[in-house]
């Protein structure tokens, strides 16, 4: 499912597809998910994937 990658707090935006991979930092877990197949990313961003913090992920049709 396409996910509008959240970097709302950092004012950058990505859109891509969740890979299913995630990483937890600390306890309680600060969970990060990896998006790939980026259809939107900041100019100059060289990668086709990005790690996004879970609190800033929005499903694409909810993004506005």
């Amino acid at each position: 499912m396409p996910v509008a990658g959240g970097a709302g707090g950092t004012r950058e935006e990505y859109a891509g597809v969740l890979t299913g991979e995630y990483v937890d930092h600390g306890d309680p877990p600060w969970r990060w998910y990896r998006l790939t197949g980026l259809s939107r990313k900041p100019d100059g961003y060289p990668w086709d994937s990005v790690w996004c913090e879970s609190g800033n992920l929005f499903v694409a049709e909810d993004a506005r």
């Binding site: 959240g6 707090g9 990668w47 913090e53 879970s54 800033n56």
Partner: protein, 370 residues
């Protein structure tokens, strides 16, 4: 007796007299604001865990029962590459050459110290997590997130009696954080210093207030006078988040060069640019921001690459106090900061001017200054 319009519900919740939140990198400013009846918030992002622990304990001892907060900046995204060296290898030669040319033309020496910007929490998630865990352990009364979503830490913070504030630049962000249970939302407009978005304070504050329900909204962005405080309350806010106004205060530990720049600056002496960190950031104009506005300049890189690209040069600028390049985040309210003044005087005048402005609208007598 006339009710004091500045005694908002947020004041009662936090046990403070004035709904004025001071975001500051200086612990002396944070302490002085809390002592004057407001609420000091220490900027924790640029401190390592040891420094942050020292400053939190210093504030606790100095303030006793008066509350204070810590603000952290969290990354919300990160590239798949791992180490700083791997990330730096991705930086295009065009950008490296551009920075080398600036360094040579202005004769900026190599940095004396390791670039501090490399250690920022938003480059290293584990460092950010250490800072959060420290604030939880120390049970700081308020934990604010200037960047990033606080939702994952709410339960742990609330279990320790810590209130959590989230800062947003869009109503969509506020909706999610309010639903998650934050204790206050800081609605930041584009006038603000530092990392900020594109929506103006006059627009974002009422928009967030309209969907916040009982969650207090704190207005941020350009607040530097009592009139701004009065206006924020009229927009639906329960308090104001301030930063620029404290930079040139007597208690501020900013370099005297920066203090003078702040005092000399007007509203059009700031620029919203991605050339400092890769995030859109409002700073005082400098030679650095001017160079990136040249027609032949490359486009700044996204974070964290722009920070890594420029980190060593910025460190050298700070090491040698190279005035034309010294950067400071400042909001568009900077034109109202015209002198170096004690924090207590700034707080007193903020409150007095706000009360007078509100009384002029309502026709009520001005409540007595506390």
């Amino acid at each position: 007796m006339t009710k004091d319009p500045l005694r908002t519900k947020l004041c009662d919740t936090l046990g403070i007299e004035l709904p004025v939140f001071a975001f500051t990198p200086s612990r002396d400013v944070a302490a002085a604001v809390s002592e004057a009846g407001g609420f000091g918030v220490l900027a924790g992002a640029l401190r390592d865990s040891d420094e942050l622990e020292t400053d939190i304990r210093w504030l606790k001892e100095r303030l006793g029962s008066k509350p204070f907060g810590v603000d952290l900046l969290l990354p919300a995204s990160a590239p798949p590459g791992g180490s700083i060296e791997e990330l730096m290898a991705q930086i295009p030669e065009e950008h490296l050459a551009f920075v080398r040319e600036i360094k040579a033309r202005y004769e900026i020496p190599d940095a004396k110290n390791p670039p501090m910007f490399y250690d920022l929490g938003w480059v290293k998630q584990d460092r950010a997590r250490q800072q959060i865990d420290l604030v939880l352990e120390e049970r700081v009364p308020v934990l604010a997130f200037g960047l990033g979503s606080p939702n994952f830490i709410l339960e742990a913070a609330h279990a320790r009696g810590i209130k959590v504030f989230g800062l947003v630049g869009k109503p969509r962000q506020a909706e999610r954080e309010i639903a998650a249970g934050v204790d206050a939302i800081i609605a930041q407009g584009t006038d603000a210093a530092g990392h900020t978005g594109s929506i103006g304070t006059f627009s974002i504050v009422p928009a967030v207030a309209a969907l916040a329900g009982d969650v207090p909204v704190i207005a941020a962005g350009g607040v530097t006078t009592g009139r701004h405080l009065a206006a924020a309350l009229c927009l639906g806010a329960a308090g104001v988040w301030t930063g620029t106004i404290w930079l040139a205060s007597k208690e501020s530990d900013r370099d005297p060069i920066i203090k003078q720049k702040i005092v000399d600056a007007g509203a059009d002496d700031t620029v919203l640019s991605t050339c400092v960190s890769g995030f859109s950031m409002r700073v005082l104009k400098t030679k650095w921001t001017e160079e990136w506005e040249r027609p032949d300049a490359p486009k700044p890189l996204p974070a964290p690459y722009q920070l890594l690209l420029a980190g060593e040069l910025h460190q050298a600028v700070n090491d040698y106090r190279i005035e034309p390049f010294m950067i400071e985040a400042a909001g568009q309210g900077v034109g109202f900061v015209t002198a170096e003044r004690p924090v207590a005087d700034i707080v007193r005048d903020l409150a007095g001017e706000a009360r007078a402005a509100l009384a002029a609208i309502s026709g009520d007598p001005v409540p007595a200054q506390r």
